[in-house]
Amino acid sequence: MGSLFGKKSHKSSRQPAITEQDRAILQLKQQRDRLNQNRRRIETQLEREREVAKQLLKNGQKERALLLLRKKKMLEMQLDKSEGILENVERMTHELEFAQVQVDVVNSLRQGTDALKKMNEILKLEDIEKLMEDSREAMEYQNEVSNLLAGSLSRADEQDVEAELDELIRAEEAQHIGRLPDVPQRRERERDRIPVISPTRVKQRVLAEAD
Protein backbone atom coordinates (compact mmCIF):
# COMPACT_ATOMS: atom_id res chain seq x y z
CA MET A 1 0.00 0.00 0.00
CA GLY A 2 3.08 2.23 0.25
CA SER A 3 2.95 2.91 -3.48
CA LEU A 4 -0.41 4.58 -2.96
CA PHE A 5 1.23 7.93 -2.28
CA GLY A 6 3.31 7.72 -5.40
CA LYS A 7 0.17 7.19 -7.42
CA LYS A 8 -1.60 10.10 -5.83
CA SER A 9 1.11 12.55 -6.78
CA HIS A 10 0.17 12.62 -10.47
CA LYS A 11 -3.50 12.28 -9.75
CA SER A 12 -4.44 15.87 -10.50
CA SER A 13 -2.80 16.00 -13.90
CA ARG A 14 -4.51 13.04 -15.57
CA GLN A 15 -7.78 12.45 -13.80
CA PRO A 16 -11.07 14.23 -14.24
CA ALA A 17 -11.34 17.12 -11.82
CA ILE A 18 -14.15 17.17 -9.28
CA THR A 19 -16.29 20.29 -9.46
CA GLU A 20 -18.85 21.73 -7.06
CA GLN A 21 -21.59 20.39 -9.35
CA ASP A 22 -20.12 16.89 -9.10
CA ARG A 23 -20.34 17.11 -5.33
CA ALA A 24 -23.94 18.31 -5.52
CA ILE A 25 -24.82 15.46 -7.87
CA LEU A 26 -23.14 12.97 -5.57
CA GLN A 27 -25.20 14.24 -2.64
CA LEU A 28 -28.41 13.95 -4.65
CA LYS A 29 -27.53 10.49 -5.85
CA GLN A 30 -26.77 9.40 -2.34
CA GLN A 31 -30.19 10.60 -1.25
CA ARG A 32 -31.66 8.67 -4.15
CA ASP A 33 -29.81 5.54 -2.99
CA ARG A 34 -31.15 6.04 0.52
CA LEU A 35 -34.69 6.42 -0.77
CA ASN A 36 -34.26 3.28 -2.85
CA GLN A 37 -32.98 1.38 0.16
CA ASN A 38 -35.86 2.70 2.18
CA ARG A 39 -38.31 1.56 -0.48
CA ARG A 40 -36.80 -1.90 -0.58
CA ARG A 41 -37.04 -2.15 3.19
CA ILE A 42 -40.68 -1.07 3.26
CA GLU A 43 -41.56 -3.43 0.42
CA THR A 44 -40.12 -6.46 2.21
CA GLN A 45 -41.79 -5.35 5.43
CA LEU A 46 -45.16 -5.07 3.68
CA GLU A 47 -44.71 -8.54 2.27
CA ARG A 48 -43.95 -9.92 5.71
CA GLU A 49 -46.82 -8.13 7.40
CA ARG A 50 -49.29 -9.41 4.86
CA GLU A 51 -48.19 -12.93 5.77
CA VAL A 52 -48.41 -12.25 9.51
CA ALA A 53 -51.89 -10.73 9.16
CA LYS A 54 -53.04 -13.82 7.30
CA GLN A 55 -51.64 -15.98 10.05
CA LEU A 56 -53.36 -13.89 12.75
CA LEU A 57 -56.70 -14.15 10.97
CA LYS A 58 -56.28 -17.91 10.78
CA ASN A 59 -55.67 -17.98 14.53
CA GLY A 60 -58.78 -15.89 15.07
CA GLN A 61 -56.90 -12.82 16.37
CA LYS A 62 -58.96 -10.36 14.38
CA GLU A 63 -58.14 -7.32 16.51
CA ARG A 64 -54.39 -7.75 16.12
CA ALA A 65 -54.76 -8.42 12.42
CA LEU A 66 -56.67 -5.16 12.06
CA LEU A 67 -53.99 -3.29 13.96
CA LEU A 68 -51.34 -4.77 11.73
CA LEU A 69 -53.28 -3.87 8.60
CA ARG A 70 -53.52 -0.27 9.84
CA LYS A 71 -49.77 -0.20 10.28
CA LYS A 72 -49.41 -1.68 6.84
CA LYS A 73 -51.62 1.02 5.36
CA MET A 74 -49.43 3.65 6.99
CA LEU A 75 -46.32 2.07 5.51
CA GLU A 76 -47.94 2.03 2.09
CA MET A 77 -48.67 5.72 2.36
CA GLN A 78 -45.10 6.33 3.37
CA LEU A 79 -43.99 4.34 0.37
CA ASP A 80 -46.10 6.51 -1.95
CA LYS A 81 -44.62 9.61 -0.41
CA SER A 82 -41.08 8.40 -0.80
CA GLU A 83 -41.80 7.53 -4.45
CA GLY A 84 -42.74 11.16 -4.97
CA ILE A 85 -39.59 12.40 -3.29
CA LEU A 86 -37.52 9.95 -5.28
CA GLU A 87 -38.98 11.28 -8.49
CA ASN A 88 -38.10 14.83 -7.45
CA VAL A 89 -34.56 13.88 -6.53
CA GLU A 90 -34.08 12.06 -9.81
CA ARG A 91 -35.46 14.92 -11.86
CA MET A 92 -33.18 17.34 -10.04
CA THR A 93 -30.17 15.10 -10.69
CA HIS A 94 -30.99 14.87 -14.39
CA GLU A 95 -31.45 18.61 -14.64
CA LEU A 96 -28.11 19.24 -12.94
CA GLU A 97 -26.36 16.78 -15.22
CA PHE A 98 -27.98 18.27 -18.29
CA ALA A 99 -27.17 21.82 -17.20
CA GLN A 100 -23.55 20.75 -16.86
CA VAL A 101 -23.61 19.41 -20.41
CA GLN A 102 -25.11 22.68 -21.61
CA VAL A 103 -22.41 24.70 -19.85
CA ASP A 104 -19.78 22.52 -21.50
CA VAL A 105 -21.38 23.04 -24.90
CA VAL A 106 -21.49 26.83 -24.46
CA ASN A 107 -17.86 26.84 -23.34
CA SER A 108 -16.85 24.82 -26.40
CA LEU A 109 -18.79 27.16 -28.67
CA ARG A 110 -17.06 30.12 -27.08
CA GLN A 111 -13.68 28.49 -27.56
CA GLY A 112 -14.54 27.74 -31.17
CA THR A 113 -15.59 31.33 -31.81
CA ASP A 114 -12.39 32.65 -30.24
CA ALA A 115 -10.30 30.31 -32.36
CA LEU A 116 -12.20 31.35 -35.49
CA LYS A 117 -11.65 35.03 -34.65
CA LYS A 118 -7.94 34.47 -34.24
CA MET A 119 -7.80 32.70 -37.59
CA ASN A 120 -9.68 35.55 -39.22
CA GLU A 121 -7.15 37.98 -37.84
CA ILE A 122 -4.45 36.07 -39.68
CA LEU A 123 -6.49 36.31 -42.90
CA LYS A 124 -6.71 40.13 -43.37
CA LEU A 125 -8.83 41.16 -46.38
CA GLU A 126 -6.15 43.49 -47.85
CA ASP A 127 -3.65 40.66 -47.56
CA ILE A 128 -5.94 38.35 -49.51
CA GLU A 129 -6.48 41.01 -52.20
CA LYS A 130 -2.74 41.51 -52.46
CA LEU A 131 -2.25 37.75 -52.59
CA MET A 132 -4.80 37.33 -55.38
CA GLU A 133 -3.23 40.23 -57.31
CA ASP A 134 0.20 38.65 -56.95
CA SER A 135 -1.01 35.29 -58.09
CA ARG A 136 -2.76 36.82 -61.12
CA GLU A 137 0.47 38.58 -62.08
CA ALA A 138 2.40 35.37 -61.66
CA MET A 139 -0.10 33.57 -63.90
CA GLU A 140 0.18 36.25 -66.61
CA TYR A 141 3.94 36.06 -66.47
CA GLN A 142 3.70 32.28 -66.87
CA ASN A 143 1.48 32.72 -69.95
CA GLU A 144 3.93 35.12 -71.50
CA VAL A 145 6.74 32.66 -70.93
CA SER A 146 4.78 29.86 -72.65
CA ASN A 147 3.92 32.12 -75.57
CA LEU A 148 7.54 33.01 -75.98
CA LEU A 149 8.53 29.37 -75.90
CA ALA A 150 5.77 28.37 -78.37
CA GLY A 151 6.88 31.17 -80.69
CA SER A 152 10.34 29.68 -80.99
CA LEU A 153 9.27 27.67 -84.10
CA SER A 154 10.02 29.40 -87.44
CA ARG A 155 7.35 30.47 -89.96
CA ALA A 156 8.21 27.55 -92.23
CA ASP A 157 7.96 25.09 -89.39
CA GLU A 158 4.54 26.46 -88.49
CA GLN A 159 3.41 26.04 -92.12
CA ASP A 160 4.64 22.45 -92.18
CA VAL A 161 2.76 21.69 -89.02
CA GLU A 162 -0.44 23.18 -90.38
CA ALA A 163 -0.06 21.28 -93.67
CA GLU A 164 0.34 18.03 -91.78
CA LEU A 165 -2.76 18.79 -89.75
CA ASP A 166 -4.77 19.47 -92.93
CA GLU A 167 -3.59 16.22 -94.45
CA LEU A 168 -4.66 14.29 -91.37
CA ILE A 169 -8.10 15.87 -91.50
CA ARG A 170 -8.50 15.07 -95.19
CA ALA A 171 -7.48 11.45 -94.69
CA GLU A 172 -10.00 11.13 -91.90
CA GLU A 173 -12.81 12.55 -94.09
CA ALA A 174 -11.90 10.31 -97.04
CA GLN A 175 -12.16 7.27 -94.83
CA HIS A 176 -15.62 8.30 -93.72
CA ILE A 177 -16.87 8.95 -97.25
CA GLY A 178 -15.40 5.68 -98.58
CA ARG A 179 -17.23 3.63 -95.97
CA LEU A 180 -20.67 5.16 -96.19
CA PRO A 181 -22.09 3.44 -99.31
CA ASP A 182 -21.41 -0.01 -97.86
CA VAL A 183 -24.17 0.18 -95.35
CA PRO A 184 -27.27 0.15 -97.61
CA GLN A 185 -25.75 -2.58 -99.82
CA ARG A 186 -25.46 -4.96 -96.94
CA ARG A 187 -28.99 -4.15 -95.90
CA GLU A 188 -30.29 -4.92 -99.39
CA ARG A 189 -28.53 -8.24 -99.47
CA GLU A 190 -30.16 -9.14 -96.23
CA ARG A 191 -33.54 -8.16 -97.53
CA ASP A 192 -32.97 -10.28 -100.71
CA ARG A 193 -32.64 -13.33 -98.54
CA ILE A 194 -35.86 -12.80 -96.62
CA PRO A 195 -38.40 -14.18 -99.23
CA VAL A 196 -36.86 -17.64 -98.76
CA ILE A 197 -38.45 -17.75 -95.29
CA SER A 198 -42.24 -18.08 -95.10
CA PRO A 199 -44.21 -14.82 -95.41
CA THR A 200 -45.59 -15.10 -91.85
CA ARG A 201 -42.09 -15.24 -90.46
CA VAL A 202 -41.24 -12.10 -92.41
CA LYS A 203 -44.24 -10.38 -90.99
CA GLN A 204 -43.25 -11.41 -87.54
CA ARG A 205 -39.73 -10.26 -88.10
CA VAL A 206 -40.82 -6.90 -89.49
CA LEU A 207 -43.09 -6.43 -86.53
CA ALA A 208 -40.27 -7.33 -84.20
CA GLU A 209 -37.99 -4.88 -85.94
CA ALA A 210 -40.62 -2.18 -85.67
CA ASP A 211 -40.66 -2.72 -81.93
Binding site: K11, P16, I18, R23, I25, Q27, K29, D33
Partner: protein
Amino acid sequence: MSSTNISDISWYYDFPPFFTLQPNLDTRRKQLDAWCSLVLDYCRLKKIFTFDVNDAKKFPLFFNTKINRQLDNNFIQVLLEELRSRGNIEWQDKNKRHCLVLWKSIEEWAKTVHHWITSRGMNGTVCTFYELLYSDDTLSAEFHKIDENLFRRILMELERRGQATVFSDNGAEGVKFL
Protein backbone atom coordinates in the same frame (compact mmCIF):
# COMPACT_ATOMS: atom_id res chain seq x y z
CA MET B 1 -24.73 -22.95 -11.02
CA SER B 2 -25.09 -23.63 -7.30
CA SER B 3 -25.79 -27.29 -7.90
CA THR B 4 -22.54 -27.82 -9.80
CA ASN B 5 -20.41 -30.49 -8.21
CA ILE B 6 -16.76 -29.74 -7.71
CA SER B 7 -15.93 -33.12 -9.28
CA ASP B 8 -17.58 -31.84 -12.45
CA ILE B 9 -14.90 -29.20 -12.95
CA SER B 10 -12.02 -31.48 -12.02
CA TRP B 11 -11.78 -35.26 -12.27
CA TYR B 12 -8.80 -35.45 -9.92
CA TYR B 13 -10.79 -33.93 -7.07
CA ASP B 14 -11.86 -37.41 -5.96
CA PHE B 15 -8.29 -38.69 -6.12
CA PRO B 16 -7.00 -38.95 -2.49
CA PRO B 17 -3.29 -38.10 -3.14
CA PHE B 18 -4.49 -34.79 -4.60
CA PHE B 19 -5.05 -33.66 -1.00
CA THR B 20 -1.53 -34.41 0.20
CA LEU B 21 1.37 -32.20 -0.76
CA GLN B 22 3.52 -34.33 -3.07
CA PRO B 23 7.22 -34.69 -2.14
CA ASN B 24 8.42 -35.08 -5.73
CA LEU B 25 8.98 -31.54 -7.03
CA ASP B 26 7.77 -32.33 -10.54
CA THR B 27 4.60 -33.91 -9.27
CA ARG B 28 4.14 -31.13 -6.76
CA ARG B 29 4.34 -28.53 -9.54
CA LYS B 30 1.60 -30.27 -11.48
CA GLN B 31 -0.43 -30.74 -8.33
CA LEU B 32 -0.20 -27.01 -7.48
CA ASP B 33 -1.06 -26.07 -11.09
CA ALA B 34 -4.17 -28.20 -10.83
CA TRP B 35 -5.12 -26.79 -7.42
CA CYS B 36 -4.66 -23.20 -8.60
CA SER B 37 -6.92 -23.59 -11.59
CA LEU B 38 -9.43 -25.52 -9.48
CA VAL B 39 -9.58 -22.73 -6.88
CA LEU B 40 -10.00 -20.08 -9.58
CA ASP B 41 -12.63 -22.07 -11.51
CA TYR B 42 -14.54 -22.72 -8.32
CA CYS B 43 -14.48 -19.07 -7.24
CA ARG B 44 -15.50 -17.91 -10.71
CA LEU B 45 -18.40 -20.36 -10.72
CA LYS B 46 -19.57 -19.42 -7.22
CA LYS B 47 -18.78 -15.72 -7.68
CA ILE B 48 -16.43 -15.69 -4.72
CA PHE B 49 -14.25 -12.58 -4.55
CA THR B 50 -12.52 -12.85 -1.18
CA PHE B 51 -10.92 -15.48 0.96
CA ASP B 52 -10.24 -15.42 4.66
CA VAL B 53 -7.58 -17.74 6.03
CA ASN B 54 -9.50 -17.91 9.32
CA ASP B 55 -12.41 -19.38 7.42
CA ALA B 56 -10.28 -21.84 5.46
CA LYS B 57 -11.78 -24.66 7.49
CA LYS B 58 -15.19 -23.67 6.17
CA PHE B 59 -14.14 -23.37 2.54
CA PRO B 60 -16.01 -26.25 0.84
CA LEU B 61 -13.38 -26.78 -1.81
CA PHE B 62 -10.75 -27.79 0.76
CA PHE B 63 -12.93 -30.65 1.97
CA ASN B 64 -13.89 -33.68 0.05
CA THR B 65 -16.37 -35.55 2.22
CA LYS B 66 -16.81 -38.19 -0.45
CA ILE B 67 -13.25 -39.49 -0.04
CA ASN B 68 -12.86 -38.07 3.46
CA ARG B 69 -9.85 -35.90 2.67
CA GLN B 70 -9.02 -32.28 3.47
CA LEU B 71 -6.14 -29.86 2.99
CA ASP B 72 -3.99 -29.21 6.06
CA ASN B 73 -2.93 -25.70 7.06
CA ASN B 74 0.53 -26.07 5.58
CA PHE B 75 -0.86 -27.10 2.21
CA ILE B 76 -3.27 -24.15 2.28
CA GLN B 77 -0.37 -21.77 2.99
CA VAL B 78 1.68 -23.22 0.13
CA LEU B 79 -1.31 -23.01 -2.19
CA LEU B 80 -2.05 -19.38 -1.24
CA GLU B 81 1.58 -18.41 -1.75
CA GLU B 82 1.51 -20.08 -5.17
CA LEU B 83 -1.67 -18.18 -6.08
CA ARG B 84 -0.12 -14.93 -4.89
CA SER B 85 3.01 -15.42 -6.96
CA ARG B 86 0.79 -15.89 -10.01
CA GLY B 87 -1.11 -12.69 -9.22
CA ASN B 88 -4.34 -14.55 -8.60
CA ILE B 89 -4.76 -13.37 -5.02
CA GLU B 90 -3.90 -10.08 -3.41
CA TRP B 91 -3.44 -9.76 0.35
CA GLN B 92 -5.59 -7.10 1.96
CA ASP B 93 -3.73 -6.96 5.28
CA LYS B 94 -0.19 -7.28 6.60
CA ASN B 95 -0.92 -10.48 8.52
CA LYS B 96 -1.92 -12.23 5.29
CA ARG B 97 -5.26 -13.39 6.61
CA HIS B 98 -7.62 -11.77 4.16
CA CYS B 99 -7.23 -11.61 0.41
CA LEU B 100 -8.98 -10.80 -2.85
CA VAL B 101 -9.40 -13.70 -5.22
CA LEU B 102 -8.64 -12.49 -8.71
CA TRP B 103 -9.96 -15.07 -11.14
CA LYS B 104 -10.15 -12.03 -13.34
CA SER B 105 -7.21 -9.66 -13.06
CA ILE B 106 -7.64 -6.12 -11.74
CA GLU B 107 -6.73 -4.80 -15.21
CA GLU B 108 -9.44 -6.91 -16.82
CA TRP B 109 -11.97 -5.84 -14.21
CA ALA B 110 -11.06 -2.20 -14.82
CA LYS B 111 -11.61 -2.71 -18.54
CA THR B 112 -14.98 -4.36 -17.88
CA VAL B 113 -16.16 -1.47 -15.72
CA HIS B 114 -14.88 1.16 -18.12
CA HIS B 115 -16.46 -0.60 -21.08
CA TRP B 116 -19.80 -0.75 -19.27
CA ILE B 117 -19.63 2.95 -18.43
CA THR B 118 -18.66 3.89 -21.97
CA SER B 119 -21.33 1.72 -23.60
CA ARG B 120 -23.96 3.55 -21.54
CA GLY B 121 -22.58 7.00 -22.30
CA MET B 122 -21.96 7.55 -18.61
CA ASN B 123 -18.56 9.14 -19.12
CA GLY B 124 -18.26 12.37 -17.21
CA THR B 125 -21.03 11.46 -14.79
CA VAL B 126 -20.86 10.96 -11.07
CA CYS B 127 -22.02 7.65 -9.60
CA THR B 128 -22.36 6.39 -6.05
CA PHE B 129 -20.80 3.08 -5.08
CA TYR B 130 -24.21 1.79 -4.08
CA GLU B 131 -25.65 2.60 -7.48
CA LEU B 132 -22.88 0.72 -9.28
CA LEU B 133 -22.85 -2.30 -7.02
CA TYR B 134 -26.44 -2.84 -5.90
CA SER B 135 -28.91 -0.89 -8.02
CA ASP B 136 -31.15 -2.54 -10.60
CA ASP B 137 -29.27 -0.64 -13.32
CA THR B 138 -26.24 -2.86 -12.95
CA LEU B 139 -28.14 -6.15 -12.57
CA SER B 140 -26.78 -7.43 -15.87
CA ALA B 141 -23.27 -6.07 -15.28
CA GLU B 142 -20.58 -8.55 -14.34
CA PHE B 143 -19.55 -6.38 -11.40
CA HIS B 144 -23.03 -6.33 -9.85
CA LYS B 145 -22.73 -7.14 -6.13
CA ILE B 146 -19.01 -7.86 -6.22
CA ASP B 147 -17.00 -7.42 -3.07
CA GLU B 148 -16.64 -3.76 -2.09
CA ASN B 149 -12.92 -4.07 -1.40
CA LEU B 150 -12.40 -5.54 -4.84
CA PHE B 151 -14.48 -2.75 -6.31
CA ARG B 152 -12.33 -0.13 -4.59
CA ARG B 153 -9.25 -1.85 -5.90
CA ILE B 154 -10.70 -1.76 -9.46
CA LEU B 155 -11.47 1.95 -9.08
CA MET B 156 -7.90 2.50 -7.92
CA GLU B 157 -6.72 0.90 -11.15
CA LEU B 158 -9.08 3.12 -13.15
CA GLU B 159 -7.68 6.15 -11.29
CA ARG B 160 -4.17 5.05 -12.19
CA ARG B 161 -5.24 4.96 -15.85
CA GLY B 162 -6.79 8.40 -15.47
CA GLN B 163 -10.25 7.09 -16.28
CA ALA B 164 -11.91 7.83 -12.95
CA THR B 165 -11.68 9.92 -9.82
CA VAL B 166 -12.92 8.62 -6.49
CA PHE B 167 -14.09 11.31 -4.09
CA SER B 168 -16.30 11.71 -1.09
CA ASP B 169 -18.49 14.50 0.14
CA ASN B 170 -20.11 14.57 3.56
CA GLY B 171 -19.64 10.86 3.94
CA ALA B 172 -21.07 10.08 0.54
CA GLU B 173 -18.63 8.13 -1.59
CA GLY B 174 -18.70 8.43 -5.31
CA VAL B 175 -16.71 8.13 -8.45
CA LYS B 176 -16.55 10.31 -11.51
CA PHE B 177 -15.76 8.52 -14.75
CA LEU B 178 -13.94 10.08 -17.64
